[in-house]
Symmetry: C2
Amino acid sequence: MTILSAQPLPMSRCSINTATLGHRSPIGEVIERVARHGFGGISPWRRDLEGQDHRLVGKHIRDAGLSLSGYCRGAYFPGASRQAFEANVTDNFRAIDEAAALGAPCFVLVVGSLPEGSKDIAAARAQVAEGLAMLLPHAREAGVGLAVEPLHPMYAGDRSCITSLGEALALCDRLDPSREGGVGVAIDVYHVWWDWRLSEDIAAAGHSGRIMAFHVCDWLVPTNDLLLDRGMTGDGVIDVGSIRREVEQTGYQGFAEVEVFSPRWWSTPEDDVLAACARGFAAI
Amino acid sequence: MTILSAQPLPMSRCSINTATLGHRSPIGEVIERVARHGFGGISPWRRDLEGQDHRLVGKHIRDAGLSLSGYCRGAYFPGASRQAFEANVTDNFRAIDEAAALGAPCFVLVVGSLPEGSKDIAAARAQVAEGLAMLLPHAREAGVGLAVEPLHPMYAGDRSCITSLGEALALCDRLDPSREGGVGVAIDVYHVWWDWRLSEDIAAAGHSGRIMAFHVCDWLVPTNDLLLDRGMTGDGVIDVGSIRREVEQTGYQGFAEVEVFSPRWWSTPEDDVLAACARGFAAI
């Protein structure tokens, strides 16, 4: 086992998820700003790119000296009808093509959960597995990894029926039993830090080559809103540094990407948010 | 395997956790009211009984024709200092004596989590295990079961470092490897419904004789507050009936206890709350 020293993460491996900046400025400006602050990567959302040529945006990103750490995010799979489910899958097919045009290494999937009126989380999980299986051949052909992101269990009712890293990995193994690749996980400390099995699941994810993205932010105490009260890395109670080390001990050398949803940060000038992101990375 | 038909739970096996009524009335009135509505059990909180003779309250409960389904709830174990930790354990010793005086079959433990300033959830877990080990001989002597209640992971920062049924069971097995008893779990659908391992963990809990309490309420979509927005059984997205059947298929024949924290219900007349509880039980 390699024991890594607690080296600060080099800025070249730090990425900014555009949601952290609140989707306030056109993507071109965001790209320039992120590059100016010295980060190495960026992960845009679909909403940032509406009506744009994804190929050109990808070129802009590379010309600015940035790499893509991912593309956010999938349409929820489960639907109240077969037709709704198929429309969701179709939307995700389109998003894979966008990710490929951008040159993103992976497409982050927040999988959805109970359709309105349903209490059947097992059925939602089955739809998610079916939808991913439909996408996987296309994603492989496009060279875009499907990064399944388990969300915190407080989103199990509406946003994600996949609620732990262990569950996401079991799903990957079902979809890709011979480990050809093309499907993996996005590990966000916010969603998984509470899990008593976290260390063993990170090790399993790393050793099976499934870690496609690593997201950081923090859990505030108290947390006043289920969706919009994330903390900047270092401001909360998650031992992000330890989790980062566990992820890297599996051999992961990709980006750490900061993703914060918070009106507090969204009303802070963008340059100040990016400076806070840099301080957060330095602390882990 | 016994397949049970979906019989409605008889009222004799339905219990009211006094928090559901908002701790508005003296415990004597609450006991009479719960009995008048035909429920078979009650589970009081320590705060309901401050300054009272627990033996007399227990007699009142039995005289009203009710049984105790539990006694709520433990002081958080972890402390920022050894002294603080020991004070918390001492407080739980007292609570066990109170539970014995009442005649409660079990004492429900919400175990606590990170002391202020800490990010070390493993240390919190170690303190919880140590505290429980200190209590267990006394609890066995007193005839009061220690019911460890895993809480929803959204409470991992402050209220409970035990965040899944599987984790709680592993802790029980460490404390009581030869299954002498005296330590088990309180399963609250609100806290565990999201867990992909729930069915197997319920089976394991039941087959090891560890289910000491079963609590019901519901998860609302949207949920607007992390602590105080629980729904009445049937009003949310949890398939409580299926979970109840899984619990009973292990042989559990104890109470289902309704525990709702909600200002909406706390501002509803107590008789109306109890009527809603009865409707909720009928629906599962």
